[in-house]
Symmetry: C3
């Protein structure tokens, strides 16, 4: 059995947006209990990531790290028509993930104790980000 | 239902090779219409990525970025038997993806407007790269 | 059909741990022969990766590279309650993978000749790492 659904997240600038609960709600509605849950982000300047959901400093370090590894305003940047965060957003997305898969085990996402699901917005402006959720299983 | 098929891509040096149409053709032949499409690259010195398919400068920045982040000829490189691009190709592959998953929705890949599927060749020489395509669903 | 199973790996410090054989054993026990095998690591300070399994220098370069790209003891690190390798482990995990998917083709993992499955431990101390294995298919 396959159940698709759609989730739209409004972002208000660069940062990590916790989406675990929204995804759990979509999975519940699918009425499937064993299989895989697949999240697919339909954008190339934002990404998805599973990371520490407890201590906010873990998330702050992630953001600082990616900003330092992919700084804006480099002389070799060409794809900056929409601003200095245009190309860097694509580069940050390339280093992280466009899709995530989580086992669905007895009706629950089999996440570890500290794992949260995040949408990672890389653009400074507001955006509406579309995620396709696919539950496949029994 | 599960349908596997095989795709072989000839590469002529480092770069991004758009493979969206070939994958769509394989998916069409599977005759499945809802589920997941999984691409698996059977190599460790090339990778797969979903990125901007419209503006070529986005792809040029991706390549320049990865070359700058993973430069050749570092004193600590050991795995260079096949040339200076040997170890860097593995390192670049480790930072990107060996497999991709895309939802299959009403007979179509649920890609966003600007998303293209790319094989990312990291070696300078010609190579033949094998991709296993698995369509799983209904 | 969906078959879940669980694997626990004891790690004795930072490094790549080859797990291909253990995964193959779990897949064999599932008695499924065609579909996808999904590995999910329930931790955020270790990761999973598919890389060169033949020449040990390839693995040594991977480790050296990640240590150089994500050095410990940076002034901006905040999440270091458990030591200097605390935040760097999360950052290294964010750049690599929490889950892997491999096609299951006629009862075998469709890995390329040189591809091995690795658990990548990023912490210095001993840890017990849990992997959920999901085989989905026929």
């Amino acid at each position: 059995m396959v159940v698709h659904s759609h989730l739209e997240i409004s972002t208000t600038g660069q940062g990590l947006y916790l989406i675990t609960r929204q995804i759990e709600e979509h999975v519940r509605k699918s009425q499937l209990t064993n299989g895989l849950v697949h999240l697919f982000l339909q954008h190339t300047s934002a990404s998805l990531i599973i990371q520490e959901n407890a201590d906010p400093t873990a998330q702050q370090d992630l953001e600082e790290f990616l900003d330092r590894m992919v700084p804006e305003n480099q002389h070799w940047h060409q794809h900056t028509l929409e601003g200095p965060d245009d190309t860097t957003s694509h580069l940050k997305a390339a280093l992280t993930h466009t899709s995530l898969q989580i086992p669905l085990l007895n009706g629950r996402l089999a996440l570890g104790t500290w794992q949260g699901l995040f949408l990672w917005e890389h653009r400074h402006q507001r955006h509406s980000r579309k995620i396709v959720i696919t539950v496949i299983g029994e």
